[in-house]
Amino acid sequence: MSNSSATRPARAGGFTSRKLAPYLFLAPFLLLFIAFIVAPLVYAFYMSLFRDTLVGGRQFAGAANYVKVAGDAKFWGGVWNLVLFGVVQVPIMLGLALLFAIVLDRGQVYAKGLFRLGFFLPYAVPSVIAAIIWGYLYGPTFGPFTQMAKALNLPPPAFLSPGAMIFSLANIVTWEYVGYNMVIYYAALKAIPSDLAEASRIDGASAWQFARLIQLPLLWPAILLTIIFSINGTLQLFNEPFLMRFLARDVINSSYTPNLYAYSLATQNQQYGYAAAVSFVLGIVIAGSSYIFTLITNRRRSER
């Protein structure tokens, strides 16, 4: 600890004193945060306490909007759609990401770098573009898969039918995000000390035992993080169904997902206050689900 000259002022540069410093460092971020997240949220909450009517304008409604959301079949129908969606899509997506991360980390494949980059590439594609591309691919009469099916004399796959739409959307989301989650797991795996792997091999464990008994538990924080993000992303689904609507207006209705519902309430029905209330209730549902999930899994883990 060098202790040179006489410059030992208690200050440390005028206004960059140690006490003030954290606030100053925090300030730019916090200012933006308040301006573009806190303020709009407060405003949205304020809006949600009012009803917008074409006759009579804006009227104070108190909690009436929230009561209405609680009983709104369209809202809960949309939530249910996404629960079904998530229960299938999230485990598959995260499972694949985990598998690939472990395999790549283990190194027992050729062309590791190519795989790492290739899997991550879909994440670079904006969801809007992805929806457009998959829309072309799903084409019921002239899409490439239909062309191939016809060539083989098979019935064309009905990607855009009501029964299949959820899975078709799930496919797009999976395609987009497996790479992203894989990268997170891969980074976490790299943080595990390598002597653990050595030790376990010496002890005679097989590769998959090592994965199951050592890597997974150590990976748990990362997995929990991605699950929570996935819950969040799933319940907020908007871009993909919004763009698929043009291809299948009869399947994706205006309340297919809660965000679509809020959007159409605001833009078509001009019910801004109610749309805000819907968004808030959605936020509560998301936060609640994440919290409950964390509680359950923590309890499960501490019981082990």
Partner: protein
Amino acid sequence: MTKIFNPLGRTMQRRDFLKVAGAGLAVAALPAAVRAQEPVKVLLWSWVPDLQLQVDMFNAAHPGIQIELVNAGQGDPEYQAVRAGLQAGSGLPDVVQIEFQHLESFRQLDAFADIGPWANQHKAEFPEGTWSQLGKGDVVNAMPQDTGPMAMLYRKDVFDKHGITPPATWAEFADAAKKLHAADPNVFLTNALFSSGDWVNALLWPMGWKPVTRDGDKLVININDKIAKDFAAYWQDLITAGVIETKPGFTNEWYTGLDTGRYATWLTAGWGPVFLTSVAKTSAGQWRAADLPQWDASKFVTGNWGGSTLAVMKATQHLPEAAEVAIWLNIDPEATKLYTTKQFFFPTTKALLSSPEWAGNKMDFYGGQAVNEVFAKSSNAVAPFEWSPFQSVIYQSMADEFGAALNGNGTLSDAFDRIQDAVVAYATEQGFTVA
């Protein structure tokens, strides 16, 4: 909805709205005397491609009034901007493009000025059905820019092959549908566009359907009346028999269906003929136009699908100038003629509708037929129609409920009932007194 097609693929310049606002502020700051010599700036929002051409013509002919043209989005995005401007009390243009079907919705928001004093002298230049939508009584809120009277485009080759003649009544249409599909299971007489609420509306229109009308202070909502039920029964019959398809329109699949002859007709509006030429290229020369089938052979009445107006906002600071803009751009002979040749609009003025040049234009795509004549005839037979003050909500509900019905959730008739319930609930909740 106005269908814009522009095979040449160029649109007008955009101007920075902020620049205009800034310029407006600067002008307002000048002393009045100086200001009087400055041309009045009128801000026009429109998504019409290449409208700058007509704007330039106007600017050249009016040294005292200059139009600033901005494309604020096509359809919904622009309407949202207008609503936001109405809420915020600022940021509105002087003249704005609004489709016929949404005029009443904005009237509900008290968005418009009355340009009757300047416009009523031109009333005789437009068909009655068109003019009646511009305002009640002597009040005029907007000027018609383009319309979409309904008729039928059909594939002559498909008809000839199966010995079918263009049906003149809906009864004949149903028979032809069954006959055609029986002869060739891969062909359908038409693809009914239940995915497009405005298309359904256009077919109910000539039947005298009055979904939402005002009776004094009250709103009368009759969406699922006998007319709707008859209509639903008619189409449900054809759908159940499997002789027509109901796929969503304006998708690649649908275009290719038209092109390959899977669909032998397209019940469409005046902008349809040119639109078809750009999406069904390989079937050029095979199409023809015929009158819209009628429910009653002794009368000839049609409906309208799409079309826009230029409306003048109440918030404008320059009412006479704005009125002049809205009016001139839609009555000037050269400007309106340019709409038909450059933007391929279906004209609104009687002058153009009956002009030999436009009406007699023989199109190769239609085997040399002057299809515009068919649609011009339809234009003069469009019945009056009253729009609701929340048309977006009705279209949304139609899309949702027809979609549900076509996917097995009840019949079209049930769908109309559900729409009725939804709209009544919405109207009541919005403060209307529903009779």
